[in-house]
Symmetry: C4
Subunit: 209 residues, 4 copies
Amino acid sequence: MEDYWGTDRMVAFSDGVLAIAITLLILEISVPESAFDDLWRGIADQWPAYLAYVTSFLTIGGIWVAHHAIFRRLQYANRELMVINLLLLMVVAFLPFPTKLMAEAIHNKDAARAAAIFYGGTLLVISLLLSLLWGAVARDRRVLNPGVTEKEINAIALAATPNIGFYIAVIALAIFAPRIAVFGYLVIAIVALLRVRGDRAAGPTTTTA
Amino acid sequence: MEDYWGTDRMVAFSDGVLAIAITLLILEISVPESAFDDLWRGIADQWPAYLAYVTSFLTIGGIWVAHHAIFRRLQYANRELMVINLLLLMVVAFLPFPTKLMAEAIHNKDAARAAAIFYGGTLLVISLLLSLLWGAVARDRRVLNPGVTEKEINAIALAATPNIGFYIAVIALAIFAPRIAVFGYLVIAIVALLRVRGDRAAGPTTTTA
Amino acid sequence: MEDYWGTDRMVAFSDGVLAIAITLLILEISVPESAFDDLWRGIADQWPAYLAYVTSFLTIGGIWVAHHAIFRRLQYANRELMVINLLLLMVVAFLPFPTKLMAEAIHNKDAARAAAIFYGGTLLVISLLLSLLWGAVARDRRVLNPGVTEKEINAIALAATPNIGFYIAVIALAIFAPRIAVFGYLVIAIVALLRVRGDRAAGPTTTTA
Amino acid sequence: MEDYWGTDRMVAFSDGVLAIAITLLILEISVPESAFDDLWRGIADQWPAYLAYVTSFLTIGGIWVAHHAIFRRLQYANRELMVINLLLLMVVAFLPFPTKLMAEAIHNKDAARAAAIFYGGTLLVISLLLSLLWGAVARDRRVLNPGVTEKEINAIALAATPNIGFYIAVIALAIFAPRIAVFGYLVIAIVALLRVRGDRAAGPTTTTA
């Protein structure tokens, strides 16, 4: 019997970890004091760090939206969901490390390749865990809110699929052109945010503008 | 249809990011061990770091109040609000970096100019994103809570405007007098906090003191 | 009219800042790699860091309890409460800095004196701000929940007073015996936690153990 | 009378501290720039840091689940629970420090022994505090939610016991084989997560998959 949990504290804890991981990203950026004589140039030279910051910030933002879309449809979590969610948070909280590596390695061609593949691999694992999370929901529909339709279940499952393909493609690209791949990850994050679907129709209020 | 979100988790996530960004500011302050022989002087020498800390703390505090004033009037968020809010959080979470630069650069005149302009530019972008956020609300009034009046909508839109002008003025000042500009940012933050308006009238309890 | 706020998001934001400030304290503790040949000794040598960690952790824990005791009695916040609460959070979020200084300075007598006074001064300012916060409540009782009695108002006002006296006494002690004063701050934190009063009577369930 | 607290803000504060402690773990991992010429090897060389990261992440995840299981059964907290919970959070927030030590010390046999014992000792103290927390509940059953049965109380008390034994066993192992002990802590964390029990039966919805 006692094999289910309410989702309130899981959502609060997940929001906490995602909010902290997204905010810690900035701690890795700094301008060395030696660059203070020409600080504008010193600031500009950090562009790989800004690129990595924006990419990881928007990626985690998209993960948060996807996580939100899944959990607002659940009334319970089973053990499998609890464990997969914890693994998902573990890999998202790991992301500041490959983010920093990618920012630091961009000026060294061999290191840039390794860092871009490592970064993409981390994002690929996150995408796979999000798919697994929804797969676990689909296997035990007792966890769902009563109103969730078969159509919604399939729509969410499909929404996760393209990202997995995109990440594999950009990781392959990183082998030959690591610096272009870095922009590829940014494009995936932006496209994912533009593709997100709201979770409810607007209320009865009519448009006035 | 499914183009709207509830705002509960968006508010929780935003509060998390703002609370973390405001608290991380302290991590950048330290006294070098070489200053331990005269620690009072070592502590006093860090005044630019304290000034930058207080300025950024009160500025983020004011952003939090303005964010609160906007979101408590929303019952839904549309895609545009979701994306603008994420960009807003991204720039606020970026603020510890220009804060640190401004604290470190204050003793070098050229670097102080660059750092003060860079810091002000970040605050200007934040103000513009707050205006954009409210503009997106004004364009799709289905997202608003039923009770919100036209008068309130205009009042909030107007409340954001002066800050944009003030930041442009202080950034211009920073070109000639960067150190004075740093105090200017602090004054803007204090004035913004003193100008904030509560979000409801007091209840039926009568004043007894 | 619009001069009051609901307290829900203020409490959530304050909890966030307090939880982060209390958790960041650990980041300052580390054992230098040169001490790895005799790591037990290296770990033991960090005792001032542990002492400072425990003192600041329990102190912030006590601040959190006192903050809780105040805010659960409020149904609104006015502008004064909003500003004082933000200043309070600003000084609590500052605490990791004097904590680190006190841990590092303990082996240098002159530096230890300065660091212990600076640390105590920060705690004194926090106590004064907590008193100010409650004073602002007492001046505008429209913000209180209906059920709060005059007796409770005075009890909370009195509860804050001894800490102010204790901090002044230990700061004075720090001038002559800084290392003893460090333990004094710990004792104040423990006593404050043991003196806290619950916020409600137990429910109708009877004791069975 | 006033000797009890509601648990809402305690749960929010605890979730905050646990989420932050679990997310800060990543800040300690980095690859030295000297390893950028062969970055794949540099990344691989950090395996002790990944092992320590995963172990501490899953351990804190298990603590969070256990904490959840306790607090969802409480309607009040008494002073003892308040203090024990704060001590528990203090030791969990301390965990990033022994985690870092264990990752750094693994290549030095003597240091690895000290670090593995110190890490295990911290986890043992956490387990004991969790037991104490539940013991305090069992001593004052007025704090429990009305529906909690004697059977549940005993089940929770028993659930905590094996971990204490496991930690003592692995700490003893660490004296002779510190590197194997590190994997032992990971195994305990995984087993604890697989053993957790849900907190409610599934709702009336029938299984459809």
